[in-house]
């Protein structure tokens, strides 16, 4: 029964009454003349699992550091639970951060590293020991408790850093690439552990990751950043299905981008004139385009059907040759070259053995997709 209640949609960002836990108001951060964060406004709500995604150097760590209290905004303000935190020192914030560089204390063993924050809180010895043991178990580090940080592997160090930041069960937890050094299996396990902890403790997580799959798996919302700007903030499925810009579409997952000129056909349907000698494409779009306006059609490879024969009914059909095949185990991505040189990717599930797959290099094939499969973007 409780499950049913908790499974009601968690979408505080759609509720205008909801008070955000973190509020960035027009925050700008400059290092000398370099602008790392540029006039950024963002609300993050309690119990969110918020993922920051973006290329290296786009300002993810800088945002975390401002939340943790190691940097102050050059302009604008940051509020935590309704209070401006500009003058609150790091040790007085109910925020813990897992550092991208781990920052483990080299003179303390793993056990003492994890206990460090708890000792500052003067936690009773029995509780403290229980808590540290719990963290060691969670991160599977029991065997290494007595070792020093330089005596364990990179992935183990990363887990120690994670355990140390989790130990104090803070209100807000900042994880700067927490799982990058872990192998896939352990990473997935830890992802689920994190989600579990989040569910149990109601801690708000802000997590930086380079791994978009990870962001998709764990996050309630994803922010895609570029050069100190937020490009889009939305739920993972919306980011994936309805990117607002070519940049976001391209950054998250694999995508075909077809540039052309839109002309309205009626309703929300547009036909796209995109290349000499190629038929027009059809796509629907809720945002309106002027006739002749440049547009970009973004289609995910898995939404493109590949067939040997021309499909009978399809909104969009193009013909080409198989240029390359990327075999990913469960999936195959076909890179199909059209007569004008454009490459379009189509993805299919490998339900048959590889030796029996339908297409091979240089096969002539047909690609088709529906009018609603892609997203029409202005820029």
């Amino acid at each position: 029964m409780g499950d049913i209640v908790s499974s009601t949609v968690f979408e505080p960002w759609t509720d205008p009454q909801a008070e955000p836990l973190i509020r960035f108001r027009n925050v700008t951060k400059r290092f000398g003349s370099f602008t790392a964060i540029d006039d950024l406004t963002l609300d993050i709500y309690e119990k969110e699992f918020f993922a920051l995604l973006g290329p290296s150097g786009c300002g993810k760590t800088t945002m975390m550091r401002m939340l943790a209290g190691f940097e102050n905004p050059t302009e604008g303000s940051i509020e935590l639970a309704g209070r401006d935190i500009a003058n609150v020192p790091p040790n007085k914030r109910a925020v813990n951060m897992m550092f991208q560089s781990y920052a483990l204390f080299p003179h303390l063993n793993i056990w003492d590293n994890i206990a460090f924050g708890l000792r500052r809180d003067k936690m009773p010895k029995v509780d403290l020991e229980a808590r540290v043991e719990e963290m060691l178990k969670l991160t599977r580090l029991e065997k290494f408790a007595k070792r020093k940080p330089h005596q364990i592997s990179g992935g183990q160090r990363q887990r120690v850093a994670l355990a140390r930041s989790l130990a104090k069960a803070p209100k807000l937890l900042l994880l700067d690439e927490p799982l990058g050094a872990l192998d896939k299996k352990l990473r997935q396990d830890t992802q689920f552990e994190l989600m579990d902890i989040q569910e149990k403790t109601g801690t708000t997580f802000v997590i930086v990751t380079h791994d978009q799959e990870e962001a998709m798996t764990v996050a309630s919302r994803v922010a895609v950043m570029d050069e100190g700007h937020l490009m889009q903030v939305a739920t993972p499925d919306r980011i994936y299905e309805n990117p607002e810009s070519v940049y976001v579409a391209d950054f998250i997952g694999d995508v075909n981008i077809i540039q052309g000129r839109a002309s309205a056909v009626g309703g929300e349907t547009y036909s796209i004139d995109w290349a000499e000698g190629q038929g027009q494409l059809t796509a629907t779009s809720a945002t309106s385009f002027d006739n002749g306006q440049t547009c970009h059609l973004a289609i995910r490879p898995e939404k493109v059907t590949i067939t040997a024969d021309r499909p009978e009914v399809a909104d969009n059909v193009v013909q080409g040759r198989v240029h390359d095949i990327a075999y990913l185990g469960n999936l195959s991505t076909y890179h199909v070259e059209l007569p004008n040189g454009t490459i379009i990717k189509a993805q299919t599930a490998n339900t048959r053995r590889i030796s029996r797959r339908s297409f091979t290099w240089e096969d002539p094939v047909w690609l088709s997709w529906t009018a609603t499969a892609g997203v029409l973007l202005a820029n």
Partner: protein, 296 residues
């Protein structure tokens, strides 16, 4: 072959510059004084062969070492030297640590200049610098005049020829040996560790105490030994700045050697001093080794 040569070089160095001189000093310490050149007997006469060598050996004894225990001047001088070395090491640490910390925290472009300022005094003769301190500390010296002028004191402080002057001189002279290893340790310290400590609930001061101090400990230990070991046998500073009440083994050794011309007792004093120094030197080596291991 090449390896053998490479290993042989440091051993040859050690043999020629440490073990042989030490053997000679040890031999003299077991001899007796004599009005002769050199001023002790016996001397080894190789012309008499084996029998001569036996006779030579039979004349060596521990008389001088026994003498060191009988006259309380010596053990008092050893103890006083240990005390002065210990106290001045602590003072040097207290003065040197903040300076090293300031250097490590200074902006990158300032550091070479600050480093230069620390090393700069080495460019003038040590003796001249100690003489300069005599000028500063004497009754009519700069310090007393400045204090009188400021009205802090009514009449000149007697500083020169006291233990205070010795401490000032030692701290001043040995400060760079304390600063440099501590600076090296602090310079390597990763700033994000301090941030992590603060993030986990430490105040600035706690973070300093719980992270900075432990991580600069190898530097503190190295610096302390680099000061303590040479200060224990220090001679110039106590004889120039110290008074009649300043008792240090280096001064005693000098007097035995040059004033009393008692080479055997002076040598015995030197041998005991060396034995006392072996302990801190071994500890120092252990510290350096541990640090090297930790860095691998």
């Amino acid at each position: 072959m090449r390896r053998a040569v490479l290993i042989a070089i440091p051993y040859a160095w050690l043999l020629a510059l440490f073990l042989v001189p030490f053997g000679i000093v040890l031999k003299i310490s077991l001899s007796d004084t004599a009005i002769a050149i050199p001023p002790y007997v016996p001397t080894l006469d190789l012309a008499e062969g084996w029998a001569g060598f036996r006779a030579f050996l039979s004349e060596l004894d521990f008389e001088n070492f026994v003498w060191l225990t009988e006259d309380d001047l010596y053990w008092k001088a050893y103890l006083s030297s240990l005390k002065i070395a210990l106290i001045s090491t602590i003072f040097t640490l207290l003065v040197g640590y903040p300076m090293a910390y300031g250097m490590a925290r200074a902006p990158e472009e300032w550091r070479p200049t600050l480093m230069m300022l620390v090393i700069l005094p080495f460019w003038t003769s040590f003796l001249i610098r100690v003489y300069a301190w005599m000028g500063i500390l004497s009754n009519e010296g700069f310090l007393n005049q400045a204090l009188l002028w400021l009205g802090v004191i009514g009449e000149p402080l007697a500083l020169l020829n006291t233990n205070t002057a010795v401490y000032i001189g030692i701290v001043y002279t040995y400060l760079p040996f304390m600063i440099l290893p501590i600076y090296a340790a602090l310079d390597r310290l990763d700033g994000s560790l301090i941030e992590a400590a603060e993030d986990l609930g430490c105040s600035r001061l706690q973070a300093f105490w719980l992270v900075t101090i432990p991580l600069s400990r190898p530097g503190i230990i190295a610096g302390s030994f680099l000061v303590f070991i040479p200060v224990l046998g220090e001679f110039v500073i106590p004889s120039l700045l110290g008074g009649s009440g300043t008792l240090m083994i280096g001064k005693v050794l000098w007097e035995e050697f040059f004033s009393n011309r008692d080479w055997p007792v002076a040598s015995a004093v030197a041998v005991v001093l060396l034995l006392i120094l072996v302990i801190p030197i071994v500890l120092f080596q252990r510290n350096q080794q541990k640090q090297a291991e930790a860095e691998q």
